[in-house]
Amino acid sequence: MGLRNMSSVVLSNNVKVIGPKGAPTLMLAHGFGCDQNMWRFMLPTLEKHYQVVLFDYVGSGKSLLTKFSKEKYSALEGYAQDIQDIINELKFTDVTIIGHSVSSTIASIASIAMPNIIKKIIMVCPSPCFLNCPPDYKGGFERNDLEELIGLMDKNYIGWANYLAPLVMGTSQSQELIGELSGSFCSTDPVVAKSFANATFFSDYRHILQDIKCPVLILQSSSDALANVSVGEYMASRIPQSQMVVIKAEGHCLHMTDYDYILPIALKFIEPS
């Protein structure tokens, strides 16, 4: 029975485990509109030191679309369950998660559910809430902006069905870099993309920050249209064991545009010498 279920999670979430056996486990959780492919720039370095677990959330990349349920995946808890299922089925006991963007929140939810297993989280360009909540929180967006974004997804349906590039790479990146980054688009089903977008953009998980018990490293980009520096500062001030590093960079995908720069910081955090 165990084997059957294990292979079912491996299939549903297109799980890949690479790197030396017995090395510490590092799980890489992709963000909205993308898949595990977005970690490809960091992977060569990471797989030398760690047992790296790559996966796609149900509905993204090469996951099993048949496993998608609108109900389950209408909130981030559903995605956190994917992480928990993978950890349970593959029997990992000590896991560090690197989560991009919304996956930082998803990893946090999972870590609160399994505090003895998820030991550290690295958040790349995280935001617990994209909405502005006056007076003391500026997520960066008014509800209207985000509703319009979802509307654009509906109205440009066919385009999104084909591909969706990693969200926001920053306008001042060189065209060559944007070209290279978007060379392999992430495939996302339109219905799923919309559910994920709703779960991502209209949620507010600020209240769970104080419950994250593991050490957290926040890597924020100095110029990011989706998650500004003040969002990182807000998170750092509420997560009990957190440290924040602002990377002088443009865009929302530090792990793709500035991976050389963030890798040593991440490695040092995972294994302080």
């Binding site: 059957r4 902006d145 509307g151 654009l152 109205k155 385009g159 790479m169 065209q175």
Partner: protein
Amino acid sequence: MSSEVKPDLNHFLSGHLVVNKDRKIIFCNDYIHELINQSDNKVIDTPISKYITKASNIFLDSYIYPLLLTDSTAQEIQITWLNSNGEKIPVIVNIKLDKDGLSYWSVYICINRDKLQNEWLSANKKLEKQSQELFNLATTDPLTGLLNRREFQEQTKKLISQTDRSASTFALLSIDVDFFKHVNDTHGHQVGDKVLIHLAKLFNKNRRANDLVSRFGGEEFILVLPDITNEDAYQLAEKLRLNVERNPIDNIQITLSIGLVVTKKAKKVNLEQLLKTSDKALYMSKATGRNKTSVAELE
């Protein structure tokens, strides 16, 4: 005469823009000025990002530019224009990127098309909601919210065919409330309903994620428990039975008779056989004093 016609982009009812590598506007026709509501000298050299909404800018970064860099063209894409008064105008854009990094934009207002799309989207949303409501009505028991008999049969048949392939077992529990007619006759149907609702809650509370819990009819419930051993299924049945025996509902002592059947590995069964067998076990419980769990073997 035709040689005297000098094409002038300002005569067209469409906007034309040239945007450079830094995404600044370096040329535009009159249609764009009207759209922006600003004179020429202010538009030129301004970033295109200023004239589209925040959401559209995200869309531009995450979809349109990557698409241009891959295919050199992006066609029939809807974004939202922002004029100098802050008004939002839906537009369709066709864009071509040349090898020097200049992009050529054709822009068309699509207010009516957008209205139509919004109507279509809201009708679609309404239909989705209605179809969900109809689905719920068709598949659940209105009193208890559990699966109704028909949905139970559908889902169990699916489970049986999956189990055929996976060589695991599952259990089926037929649960009947003892002397339920007496409860209804003595305390009235409203109290009888309360008992059924209470039991449904209890069964739901004890169910695992993949268990099926249904009201099969009247005062009979059926639970289907995938991936479970004989012993675990028996223990669960007893746990439910004892819970009800020890906790009167609305001060009324209620007991349950339960019939249990567990499938065998790699042995094909059908729903009729299962129901017949669990019914046999349930009958044994009733015939031997009620308030007990009996097990029957599949033939």
